[in-house]
């Protein structure tokens, strides 16, 4: 709400429902609109409709609901609709362990939609970052006209913690005017202004391949290639602005942990403990997961001998690390519905240094 969110549509699902309950109470008081939809498909649909009607819009969900939203999220990417989706990841697959922690949606957020899409996914590790990165997600969504994911996990989602709800940030306002081409840009990675319904722009919004004005171009190869190309470049050309990592104790490290989400907090504790014993270990913490911080990981190559990637899934990010790091890589996947313990990571790292 600090970021200017004016619309929430959702469907209750453990362990994300607390967000929905909070929005149900607070959003209408602040002049926004809240609605409980009949399912997650309807939720993302209503979010997209509201976004085109001019509202900054969001929803929150977890694994099964995230799966149901995939088609709608593809629509949001293709029609360049700003929206924010918070996924409080739980232990999957399927219904899995609804109340337990996991982080198995990393690949789904990028590859769950059919076709080739580029999206932005952020990974908070604290209550403070649930606040700060939600604001950042709204700003990026509005600036780039795309869905932005906050891939939190149950451990962060249910953490109680001292946090400051400050107002030291800029709020991105959507560029609303139109030159008649709300779906085209002269720049190969450009973001066109987005008029809203009711502005008199006679908008043609469609999930089919379309030209700059929105007319369907479903049989023109060039039109499809150009549109998909621009939607990808829109994200990839801005990767330096989007990618956000933290480096801890990496300067003289021989072994680096690459971690994200709640696991990264345990990893930092493990690194500090081992540093206390004179072991040269460090942490590269990924606060952006998509676009993947390839350069930042590749920069470890030649600097550290080995990389350790602990995850609450079986190597979803380790596979991405493998693509850019040629040294020794140890992937540690834990999917038992529990967070990876600090002592577990200490023991694993001790075997590597």
């Amino acid at each position: 709400m600090a970021a200017g969110c004016g619309f929430y549509a959702g469907y209750p699902i453990t362990p994300s429902s607390e967000i929905m309950e909070g929005m149900a109470e607070l959003l209408p008081k602040a002049g926004g609109a809240f609605i409980q939809m009949e399912d997650e498909i309807a939720s993302i649909s209503a979010v997209i409709g509201a976004s085109w009607a001019g509202a900054k819009a969001m929803t929150a969900t977890s694994g099964p609901g995230f799966s149901l939203m995939m088609e709608g999220l593809g629509y949001a990417v293709f029609t360049e609709t700003p929206c924010v989706i918070i996924d409080i990841q739980r232990a999957g697959p399927c219904t899995g362990q609804a109340t337990r922690v996991g982080s198995g949606d990393i690949m789904q957020s990028k590859w769950g939609m059919h076709g080739d899409v580029e999206i932005v996914a952020l990974s908070p590790w604290s209550v403070q970052e649930m606040y700060d990165l939600t604001i950042r997600a709204f700003n990026l969504a509005e600036r780039l006209r795309l869905p932005v994911f906050l891939l939190a996990d149950e451990a962060v989602g249910h953490l109680h913690e001292t946090a400051e709800f400050h107002d030291r940030f800029e709020t991105e306002q959507r560029v609303r005017g139109t030159d008649g081409t709300p779906f085209g840009s002269a720049e190969p990675g450009g973001v066109p202004p987005m008029p809203r319904f009711g502005d008199g722009a006679n908008l043609l919004v469609t999930g089919s391949t379309h030209d700059d004005r929105g007319f369907r171009r479903v049989e023109e190869a060039e039109a499809h290639a150009r549109l998909v190309g621009r939607l990808r470049r829109k994200v990839l050309d801005r990767r330096d602005e989007l990618v956000d990592v933290e480096r801890h104790e990496l300067d003289d490290a021989e072994v680096a942990v690459v971690a994200y989400g709640f696991t990264a907090r345990g990893a930092l504790a493990a690194v500090r403990e081992l540093r206390g014993r004179g072991k040269k270990v460090g942490l590269l913490r990924l606060r952006t997961l998509w676009p993947f911080p390839e350069r930042e990981v590749a920069a470890l190559d030649g600097k550290v001998r080995a990389v350790f990637v602990p995850e609450m899934n079986h190597g979803q990010v380790a596979g991405e690390v493998r693509k850019c790091f040629r040294g020794e890589l140890r992937s540690y996947g834990q999917t038992d519905g529990e967070v990876i313990g600090v002592e577990t990571m200490v023991a694993e790292l001790e075997r590597m240094v």
Binding site: T99, H158, L159, H160, E161, T162, R265, L268, V342
Partner: protein
């Protein structure tokens, strides 16, 4: 200063409330606090826990993997969480449901939390706050005024009086235990 406190008991005993009040009070007292509770079916009738980490600097790792202080309201919780206590840690156990006194490298205090609540209020409600008062009276982790303010923030108004009284009784029971050792 880093203190990791774990409350354990059964769903319905107010374990999560004790943890929430402590976290809120610590924040009001200017400390950093992090808390996490058992979540899901376990929170409704069976064993449950509430973990709180207190620190005067930003908290790096917010979960309690090993606790400095363990405060329990059931024998099952004592048995379950005792292995997760640091050597030299402190245990406070409500004597109402205590069946066995454990042995080990820790300070152990059996405290009459439920008995006090029943005597003062005619019901077990409030025993969790008595226990919270004992823990804080003995450890000094957070001052009483901050907890009182937290009660006024978190607890519904009609329970304020009972809760504040339970807290005061707890502090009285806890203060003599500050030196540590066995009781």
């Amino acid at each position: 200063m880093l203190t990791r406190i774990r409350f354990g008991g059964l769903g319905g005993q107010g374990i999560v409330m004790a943890g929430s009040l402590l976290g809120e009070a610590a924040t009001l007292a200017g400390l950093h606090a992090a808390g996490s509770n058992s979540y899901g079916a376990a929170a409704r009738g069976t064993a449950c826990r509430s973990d709180v980490v207190l620190s005067d600097v930003r908290i790096a790792y917010p979960h309690v993997s090993t606790a400095d202080v363990l405060a329990v309201m059931s024998q099952a919780a004592l048995d379950k969480y005792l292995p997760g206590l640091v050597p030299g840690g402190v245990v406070f156990a409500d004597d109402f449901s205590l069946q066995r006194t454990p042995e080990g490298k820790f300070a152990f205090h059996a405290v009459p939390a439920t008995h006090t609540a029943v005597r003062e209020f005619g019901s077990r409600q409030g025993a969790n706050i008595v226990l919270l008062g004992v823990v804080l009276g003995a450890t000094g982790a957070v001052g009483r005024a901050a907890v009182e303010e937290a009660i006024r923030h978190v607890v519904r108004a009609r329970f304020h009086e009972t809760n504040l009284r339970a807290l005061a009784l707890g502090f009285e029971l806890g203060r003599p235990l500050a030196a540590g050792g066995r009781s």
